[in-house]
Symmetry: D2
Subunit: 329 residues, 4 copies
């Protein structure tokens, strides 16, 4: 007997990558009914005409309008658009919001009218999310980097961090540009926003809120990778813990995490692609500790984590609708 479809969910900006991934997840979520999938650019046409893998699975059409008779709205409208949407739209207070943009992630912007946004990283804020009316979903790189550093920050062991991360093309959205052209990106690597990526602010906010000791400082070099899905990150820090003690610290910290696992074996990116998991492994050499972490940027890095947050907000088991088969290859 299936769970009753008790949660009516709407999606704003449903024609983009994160909107599409949310639809894929929610169509299979046992407790959710999609009330609307709004898209200005695609209003009136079938969802499966844009997200073509859904052909044969749904008759849903994109709508022009947002319906207020819902329990939750996911905002996938892009950076800056969430603020505009909330200003322009009157919603009942009972409608919860999960925003996937960076509009409400920082303390300074977390209060929007009467709505206060909780930073939606379950490994950091699980209890706050459970009670939240509004959640600011973390950035994709921010998720992978923080999950690699939270245990050290919580012990006050984090100071200067050197991080390099590589991201798949879906992290840049579906806009057409020279660097999204297949002929350019295939077999290519490029750095971008070196030491200036916008996610560093939310990373610093989390690490510094947690750290009883020094104020962690992350120097982050992002690279564009020649694959479509996934983020792989390595952070290097000075650390006085032995490998065994560090491993033990990480395993304790994530013992109850629903999707974040610490491995004593080497990890690689494809183990998490098309899942909501984060995998972490550690290596020690001299005084340096290297932390590797891997996620799927569209799932744990965006829409999957949004569903995880929704599950927490509606008192569902955290895994509900998120036990995804890895693509593995």
């Amino acid at each position: 007997m299936p769970i009753a479809k008790t949660i009516r969910a709407g999606i704003v900006g449903a024609a983009g990558y994160t909107g599409g991934e949310l639809i894929r997840l929610l169509l299979r979520h046992p407790a959710v009914e999609i009330a609307f999938a709004q898209s200005r650019s695609s209003a009136g046409i079938p969802v499966s005409a844009v997200h073509t893998d859904l052909y044969g699975e749904t008759e849903l059409l994109f709508t022009e309008e947002v319906l207020p008779e819902v329990d939750i709205i996911f905002l996938c409208a892009g950076h800056g658009e969430a603020v505009k949407f909330l200003s322009a739209t009157t919603l009942p207070d009972t409608v919860r919001i999960i925003d996937l943009s960076h509009d409400f992630r920082l303390e300074a912007t977390a209060l929007q009218g009467k709505r206060r946004f909780v930073y939606g990283l379950p490994e950091l804020n699980r209890e706050l999310i459970r009670q939240a009316g509004n959640v600011a979903n973390p950035g994709c790189f921010a998720t992978a980097i923080q999950l690699g550093l939270l245990p050290l920050a919580a012990e006050g062991l984090l100071d200067e961090v050197h991080t390099t991360g590589i991201t798949g093309s879906t992290g840049a959205g579906q806009g057409l540009s020279p660097t999204s052209h297949f002929s350019w990106r295939a077999d290519n690597i490029q750095a971008y926003k070196t030491l200036q990526h916008q996610h560093v602010a939310e990373i610093h906010q989390s690490l510094r809120s947690l750290s009883p000791g020094p104020k962690p400082e992350v120097h982050f070099v992002p690279w564009r990778g020649d694959f479509t899905r996934g983020i792989f990150v390595t952070s290097v820090v000075d650390c006085r813990l032995s490998y065994e003690d560090a491993l033990s610290l990480y395993q304790r910290f994530y013992a109850t995490a629903a999707f974040t696992h610490v491995s004593a074996e080497p990890i690689d990116l494809k183990r998490v692609v098309n899942t909501n998991k984060c995998l972490i492994s550690l290596e020690k050499s001299g005084s340096k500790l290297a932390i590797h972490s891997a996620i799927d940027n569209l799932l744990k890095g965006a829409s999957g984590q949004a569903v995880q947050n929704m599950n927490l907000m509606f008192e569902l088991p955290e895994h509900t609708g998120l036990q995804l088969k890895a693509s593995a290859f």
Copy 2:
């Protein structure tokens, strides 16, 4: 309330690609409990040490032995190994078998001791599979090609067929060889087994059994592709039907199919990757009809279709455990 785990399933040859994909599916299947995952080469070690994407999801170990107290056994042991296994192993008659090799696909080899194998293509043999004790799961190329041709064969409209197909690297298994080396296969294309692929025999058997008219003859050129998952096939035939009539014929033929959909729009491979779906589209030019079909070789082309067959054999809804999120990108 979850479905009771009423089906106890075993897997023989569980350390290979199709075995791993079966484990991924069955771990999430609401009606199945994995009783054993047998592997000679990996006996005693954790399943997640070989199928590393399963880290954090199962504590299952590979076994040396096969346990007879099961409802069904999937044979993923490779071509020639299934015959040997059944000869060497005494199993209760009540244990059903789904074999993924080519050992029992042809009429001439379908009877093995007291066990008679039904050819497990649901779109062709759904009722026979429902009543079967033993199923020979079709080949991956054979599935994609047949699904593109069955409607024409059933109308006696199929004569000479020219087919080209391209397959991902997982179709060749995990054996190491020069043509499985990344440096060779990346960005490369090669024909192999030209006009001599072993799947043509089972294709001919199905088409000819169905066709009231001429004896269809398929000339098949397989290519190795530079991707990991998926098969894309185009068949060209002479056809007197108009495009509209052909489309209508195909849509009627697959109106009740659980996973095979006929699209009036162009298709592409990635819409089906990481799903159990087959997508088909048609194009007409002059007297020629081109039929495009796409599947995931490890799912609809192997382990997914095996689960679909199991669902039919155990009177479960055909979609059970197979509503997979496409990777899409």
Copy 3:
């Protein structure tokens, strides 16, 4: 002692893919000096700002204007633009033209004002090209398919042909479109212009001009591939020759060809990528002969063949400037 730079060459439409490839070749060509690289969109900026691999190799700037004091002009302006250019531009009769578009490939369009264009496939028309003032460079698919079929056509052994070909993304130019987006094209396959590709006309023209027997008819299915460079084609025909006789026929036909080689071993695409070569292999099964051919679409399929034609027109050894190192991997 280097060859004197005796040929002054200009390029119209030099900012596109084929224009860039021509610049790469001509910069290293011992007998050529690039007189101008014209581009309306990029006039005034350095060539190396667009073709960024040339950073450190040339100070050349794109020009707005075409300079008439040259020996040869390559037209890389795109289909339809070559006709317009020749109508709008007064050039001395002594300036030779090689056009890379399809504007002058067919007999019906080969005469443009006082200029008559020779179809520039050296394996078909070497002597005519040597004496030509104007050459229409063949299409990329047209080159690969014809080279696979010319020997049979010349013997009157060609009737109905079923051909499938796959092309890299550079074949579609640098325009941005949904199917040129990396997230779409990576690991994907799609058919396009099925049985209706524009290159079939020039293929038929060549084959029929050569064939003393039946009028060959090519049914061609093109696929988009998930790589950047290269074309791989398989054609299947009825053929009464044995494998040995067919191989011998092909080897005789191409005995003096500068870049087209017939291999008795299986071929694969990457052997020719980043070279001007065409590799061909044959397989026989029953009455069917399969012919595989592979080229680099930007070289033998476009700019490399254009340089080969220029070499012939200026009585240089055919290999001059075209002895390129394969990327091989």
Copy 4:
């Protein structure tokens, strides 16, 4: 008039990746004749049967034996094999050696019998190489990382360095292993030898020999990338120079370098693939300087640099035989 083929060169271990790339280069080198291409595993068979892109270009066979009547021998036999070869083989003193393994790169191992090896990084040791009888060719990662750091080291501005690098699959050679399998490596990323890569020793040796100030310390995280050719590296250091001063320092340092160029624009990997170039760019943020560098691991990182060293040793222009067309896409 071509340059006379005055240099007779032999290759030991010619069937591997670096051996093959050397053959590709030397076949087109105007001053070199390949005297032998030795391979124990492939003795007696055609070079083009192993390096299949060379089909149609050479009739050369692999030899079992090494011929002493040569001017230079390239050792491509693998780490540890070069020492064994020199111990077991009596060569005239006049035969020069370029070794591509790590056997003679460090001061402690640079003297082998009567042969003293010069570390063959032309940007560091051009004059020493010109006079050398024996050259130890640098490692691929070592080349990319050093070229990014030499200018700072020479000014005594280098202290602690955090470096991440990604390499194509050809860097790991042609051996078959789980991580060289296409199904594993496609679309995947993995760290390996984290903070323990063997190239760090030669990097430290060069930087410290050059640095008048602090003893530079490089913390290096290597990643396996999902492409075949190329290395992209980012190093982050504390640096008191402004961006403009740093750029100026780098441009002065490499003003006379034959293949290393400093770009004021962002760089990407494919600009150098299939060339002997190294491209470098800089970015400054706060007190941190990021240095990006890119090379082709088989060319500037191995066989191309070996030919560059040979050119220096034989007083040829450094570019001779190395003006390669980039694959660009």
